[in-house]
């Protein structure tokens, strides 16, 4: 259906630039994902098993639990912001590969 359907995908996949993109992106995304999951589950675990810590008052009526729950928002947004910044790098590499795809992936028969 697309004009590029006849490309040699194996050749593009083994191209050095694509491998760089793959390695950098995988490490970055899955690392960030693991951090996000661990940080999130600290909230229900902390609320259940570290209640004394969550009850410590920090500023007026504001306790540690509330600050930690609010930090979840900051961290989620921070991850989004961090990825948005980093993604430009991946986009540039991907665009370069896509532009060269016809050459790298040309079928040699």
């Amino acid at each position: 259906m697309q004009p590029s359907a006849a490309l040699n995908w194996f050749a593009i996949d083994s191209d050095a630039r694509f491998q760089t993109l793959h390695k950098r992106k995988s490490r970055f995304l899955w690392g960030l994902m693991a951090f996000a999951v661990v940080y999130y589950f600290l909230l229900p675990v902390g609320a259940a098993y570290f209640t004394d810590l969550f009850k410590i008052k920090i500023w007026g009526a504001i306790n540690f639990g509330l600050v930690f729950a609010l930090s979840q928002f900051i961290v989620a947004w921070g991850i989004a912001w961090f990825y948005a910044r980093k993604a430009g790098e991946f986009d540039a590499l991907a665009e370069e590969i896509a532009r060269d795809a016809d050459r790298i992936g040309a079928r040699t028969r």
Partner: protein, 633 residues
């Protein structure tokens, strides 16, 4: 959609609203006309948008994905609109108003869920998919097989979600303005069908955007009014919350006996500490897993990524959605605590036991109270936004289920992918009509059923079946048709089976025992009070005793009614006398099962073609080469 049709449908809705004989609840009867006016204005705006969208809906691509021409910012608002259903808008504000910290903690998972969508799902889906989740799976698997199973799973998830929305919507409209349940459900259904049938994804997207903006504006105004009194100081505001007598009384009620030795200040502070609602941390973790992995497997959310032109726009739309959704939940913290303080738990639960009326009642209070024009105008506005929310969310769900039926089953499986755009558009509209009519029927049939757990179940199925197959198709070379089928079947069935034997179901024996305890306690109190009554000297004590007597008798009558409602049943729906699985949320077990099924299924099935297609899929998903392009308008 012609102008005449629009006028007719608005007329039909107005007639349905006006003809209702029932009396108002949250909105008192003298203010109903005003409320209908606000409802009518919002419905008229969405109908106008639908009319414009109908002119732009010419091809199947327009109908399913708005031709891929939605921008990242627009899609971000539309995702937020899809996600902020009445359950999260009214429900979370209600939970915070009644249970404080735990309600707020509950909202966090709904935002964190989008990190999964952002990092590993949105962009590859945009690059690989076309109209449905089935398209993604069909890329390197047997298209007919995986599309059939994926469509079934999509319809299952959407139906659970849809049922909860329809029933919740019917109850909500009835509670707010006193229209009969059946009429409410029918009105929601007819309006939703008008958006979907005529305007397809274009209208649905714009209705979501309008609704999300109204929701955020309404919340901002309310928060400004609540928080502004304290000069926008957080410690100042929360200090007032914990110092409030209503809040302290609510905590005392929740804690019961253990609150006896606590000072009022301690009781108030307890409202901002965990543990007033959630008693089982394992259940919380299980729910968290379903949210964090399930959101990325919800068909009506994933479908939104096919409406943007590029992976970059898909990314941008998730980031916008996270900003809007997160910001909204922060506002909800103020709405909930504000309602706890200003409206008070007894008034909130007096109208709806689950607390869903917290935000609408807060709006009424802020505008000047029950008898003021502004108060009722604000209540009407929030009520209308809640109504628009239900209609819009239902429209998105119907569109997702109908796309799976028409694009995956009818075009993909039955017609072998050989259908013209006109045929497919027609099929999509017919399927939407079918799904819409079924949704209305289910909504009416499920009247009075406890459907709150169905949303959690939808997330659990999405996390246990849809997410594993999509994730592993995109990221694991050896994934194949066998794994996809095994994952979808086992993920879906295990999630449903675990819920069927969980405490979510009704267990007559347990209910009867609990209610009999209540009756016994009430009887003892009644006997004690009756014995004391003649000996009481002063009038206040007599009055207090009489009131206590009335409360005890009411509790007894309520318990007897509950036992009667069981109607002689002794076992749950699947024949159990007590829950066999102790968690309310099945994710903890069913999600690993779903992933395991994909792994084992793929390794046993072995498919050379799926492995040969891997490089193509992986290169395309990372570079966007050859993605389905946006149609030109």
């Amino acid at each position: 959609m012609t102008k005449r049709q629009i006028v007719l449908s608005i007329g039909a809705v107005a007639a349905a609203l006006g003809a209702s004989p029932a009396f108002a609840q949250a909105v008192s009867s003298e203010w109903r006309i005003l409320t209908f006016g606000v409802f009518g204005a919002i419905i008229a705006v969405t109908m106008w948008v639908t009319y414009l969208a109908a002119k732009r809906t010419k091809t199947a691509a327009d109908f399913y994905t708005a031709g891929g021409g939605v921008s990242g910012l627009q899609n971000g608002w539309a995702i937020a609109g899809d996600y902020l259903s009445a359950a999260s808008f009214l429900g979370i504000a209600g939970l915070i108003s009644l249970y404080g910290y735990d309600g707020f903690m509950y909202s966090v998972g709904w935002l964190v869920a989008y990190i999964t969508v952002l990092l590993v799902i949105a962009e590859p889906c945009r690059n690989i998919g076309k109209y449905t989740m089935g398209d993604i799976l069909a890329f390197r698997n047997n298209p007919k097989t995986v599309k059939t199973f994926m469509a079934l799973s999509t319809i299952t998830v959407s139906t659970f979600y849809l049922t909860a929305q329809m029933v919740g919507g019917g109850v909500l409209v009835k509670t707010l303005i006193g229209i009969d349940y059946e009429i409410s459900v029918a009105v929601v259904g007819v309006l939703m069908l008008a958006y979907v049938l005529f305007g397809g994804m274009v209208a649905t997207t714009y209705v979501q955007i309008i609704k999300a903006i109204l929701l955020v504006v309404a919340s901002l105004v309310m928060v400004a009014l609540v928080w502004g009194q304290y000069g926008f100081s957080l410690p100042g505001y929360l200090g007032a919350v914990v110092g409030d007598a209503d809040v302290q009384a609510q905590v005392a009620r929740l804690l019961g006996d253990s609150a006896r030795n606590m000072t009022p200040a301690e009781l108030g502070q307890r409202f901002l500490e965990p543990g007033l609602l959630f008693k089982s941390p394992i259940d919380q973790i299980s729910l968290g897993m379903a949210l964090v992995l399930g959101t990325a497997g919800l068909p009506h959310i994933l479908m939104r990524f096919f409406t943007v032109p590029t992976a970059q726009q898909a990314r941008k739309s998730v980031i916008w959605a996270m900003a809007i959704i997160g910001g909204f939940y922060l506002l909800t913290l103020f709405l909930g605590t504000g309602a706890a303080m200003l409206v008070g738990a007894p008034a909130i639960t007096g109208i709806d036991r689950g607390g869903n009326m917290a935000a609408p009642l807060l709006a009424q209070f802020l505008g000047g109270g029950k008898d003021s024009l502004l108060g009722n105008l604000m209540l009407a506005f929030v009520a209308a936004v809640a109504f628009a929310t239900i209609v819009a969310v239902v429209a998105g769900l119907v569109l997702a289920a109908a796309s799976a039926m028409s694009h995956d089953i009818w075009v993909g499986v039955i017609k072998g992918d050989k259908a013209t755009s006109e045929e497919e558009l027609k099929a999509a509209r017919i399927c939407s009509l079918i799904v819409g009519v079924i949704a209305i029927a289910i909504g009416i049939l499920a009247k009075g059923q406890n459907v709150a757990h169905l949303v959690a179940l939808a997330f659990a199925v999405a996390a246990s079946a849809n997410l594993p197959v999509v994730l592993l198709t995109l990221y694991w070379k050896k994934c194949n048709t066998g794994g996809v089928v095994a994952g979808l079947v086992i993920g879906t069935l295990s999630a449903i089976a675990l819920v069927l034997v969980s405490p979510n179901m009704t267990y007559p024996v347990q209910i009867k025992a609990a209610q009999e305890r209540i009756i016994k306690g009430a009887d003892e109190r009644i006997a004690k009070l009756n014995a004391e009554l003649p000996g009481l000297a002063d009038a206040t004590a007599t009055e207090n005793a009489k009131q206590a007597l009335a409360v005890a008798e009411k509790a007894k009558a309520g318990a007897e009614a509950q036992i009667k409602a069981l109607g002689g049943a002794t076992t749950s729906l699947v024949g159990l006398s007590e829950p066999w699985f102790q968690l309310r949320n099945p994710g903890l077990i069913s999600i690993p099962l779903g992933f395991l099924a994909v792994l084992i299924g793929s390794l046993l099935y072995r498919d050379k073609r799926a492995e040969e297609m891997w490089e193509e899929l992986y290169v395309r998903s990372n570079t966007g080469i050859g993605r389905a392009a946006a149609s030109a308008h």
